[in-house]
Structures are given as C-alpha cells and as structure tokens.
Amino acid sequence: MSEHEDPKPSPPNSGDGWRVLSYLIGGVLLYGGIGFGLDRLLGTQFLLPVGIVLGAGLTVLLLHFRYGSRS
C-alpha cells in the first residue's frame, strides 16, 4: 500500500482466503509429487502420503509466517 491519502481505509483483503487456497494446493502438489516420484524410484509405498502431509504442514507453516504476523 502507498502513503497517498486514501479516502477510506481499505478493508481487509477479501481475496486472501482464495490466495491461501493456491498455496495449499501448491504445497500438497509439490511434496506429494516428490513423494510419488520417490515411491516410483525406490519401489516403496509410504512416501506419497508422507509427502502430502509434509507438504500440507509446510504450507500451513508458510502461511503462518506470511499472513500470521500481520496485525
């Protein structure tokens, strides 16, 4: 936001929730994908779910740092 005078204070960003969604999809997609790839490579079974959970967890952490500190 700029220092220029705003006639009215802007409301909290209404699109934040939708942006968070793309983070969640991205995190799960990425680490789930890595898990899937490793499963294929190593012939294991458990890395896809591990990757999905890890990706979701990391994304939540990222969102905490990104949006959580905003007062």
Partner: protein, 260 residues
C-alpha cells in the same frame, strides 16, 4: 424408476454442453461464441451510452455506468493494487469483470441460458491473459531475476526453512494460480448449469413421462427446487466474476509491490 415405464431417463452430462454449430458448416460459430459476442455488444453499448452524454447531473444510464465502473476501480483495483498505481489496470479489470459477469449471467437469461465459461477453453484464455499481465508487469518493475526472487522468497520465513518454502512459493505463485483461477470459474459455471439441467429435466420427466401421479407431484417440487437453484446460481455467477477479478488485481498488486 418404476418398472414398465416406456422411456428411460437420461441424466444430463458433459455431452449436454456439446452444442452443434449455429450455422451448419461454420464449425467455430457455436453458442458460447455467439453469447460472448453479444455480451461484448451489450457492454460497449452500455458504457458508451453511459459516458456519451456525461453530465454533472447524471442520467440514469450514466449513473448505472459510473456505479459499475466505480465499484471495480475503488473496491477491486484500488484496494488490491494501491492508490498510486491502480489506474493503469482499471481498464483491463473493468473490462474483464463485466465480460465475465455478463457471460456468467447469460446462464440465467431466458432464451440464452448458457454460461460461456462452462467451456473450459474460455476460462483458460481469461486466466492466461491475467497470468501474462501480472508476470509482465512484475518483470517490468523488478527485472526478470528480481521478479523471480520477489515471487519465490516468502517474507518473514526463517532462513533454515527457505529451501523447503521456495519451491512451494514458486509452484503456488507461478503454476497453481492460473490453473486455480480458470478451474474455479469453469467448474462453478459447469456445475451450476448441470445442476439446473438435472432439476429441470428431471422434473419434466417426472411430471410428463414417469406416468404416475405421486411422481408427478415430486416432479412439481423438483421444478420448484430448480427455480431456487436458479436464484442461487445468479448469486454464484456474480461472485465468480468478482473473485476472478479480485484475484487478478491482487496478483498484479503483489507482483508490483515493493519487497516487504
């Protein structure tokens, strides 16, 4: 379904969206193309009419036009991009908003009744356009490498977490955004239209072809539910146009924002 009913009910499916060309032989000229062209004509007529005889004391049309324009400029563009730079993007956002809005609402206009964006190519095209714009303005502002860093380095994350976070940030900002933008719009329009088809065609079948009085009664209720769904759809159509444009504005805003 009860046994012995001569005709069987065929539920609507994705094939309900495959419409033949309006003029046989002209393959590209289908209903969505016609609807989108009509929407452009209506939008141009509306804003041209609203601004042609601009006066201090506005006519009703001018008032309506200014209301719509102000809504996009103040509530979408300025809030998301900031008052210093938002005016550059207002024409695109305004055009995009009214184009999507009219093409969505077309699903509820009698005789038209088809949402253009229920064909996914239209949604892809709109999303790609927004994607190109926010990336280009970001690269212009920060330079290619600076923009890349800007979009992949999450602010406020401890350094030791960076290697895990940068790929998430990249995937989400560069790859998932356009996909989610287009799929959200497409899926809402597709699902809403198919829901209406199910209720109306199902009700029609129950009343006229199922061949039993209680089922006909159920059919009447089904049709009434269809009207309720149509009302809900009108709401969804407006919300989806709004969401698409708000997100486009926010993506532009975050692409040109200074590092925080």
């Amino acid at each position: 379904m009860i046994a012995g009913v001569p005709t069987e009910f065929h539920p609507p499916g994705p094939e309900s969206f495959e419409l033949p060309p309006i003029i046989s032989g002209v393959e590209w000229f289908t209903k969505p193309v016609l609807v989108s062209m009509l929407s452009v004509v209506v939008i141009v007529w509306f804003f041209w009419g609203a601004s042609r005889k601009a006066a201090i004391v506005p006519s009703k049309l001018q008032f309506a036009g200014e209301l719509g324009y102000n809504f996009v400029r103040n509530s979408i563009a300025r809030d998301a991009i900031g008052s210093a730079e938002h005016m550059k993007y207002v024409p695109y956002l305004c055009g995009l908003f009214f184009f999507i809005l009219l093409n969505n609402v077309a699903a509820s206009v009698p005789l038209v009744q088809f949402p253009t964006f229920s064909h996914i190519g239209w949604a892809y095209a709109a999303a790609i356009m927004s994607w190109v714009i926010y990336n280009v303005v970001g690269i212009r502002k920060h330079g290619a490498w600076g923009y890349f860093k800007h979009q992949t380095m999450p602010a406020g994350v401890p350094v030791w977490l960076m290697p895990l976070m940068i790929p998430i940030e990249f995937i989400s900002n560069i790859l998932v955004r356009p996909v989610s933008l287009s799929l959200r719009l497409f899926a809402n329009m597709f699902a809403g239209h198919i829901l209406l088809l199910v209720f109306v065609l199902g009700g029609e079948y129950l009343i006229f072809e199922a061949g039993s009085i209680p089922l006909a009664g159920v059919g009447v209720v089904t049709i009434l539910m269809g009207f309720a769904i149509a009302g809900l759809e009108l709401f969804v159509q407006c919300i989806q146009a709004y969401i698409f444009v708000v997100l486009t504005a926010q993506y532009i805003g975050s692409a040109i924002a200074e590092d925080h």
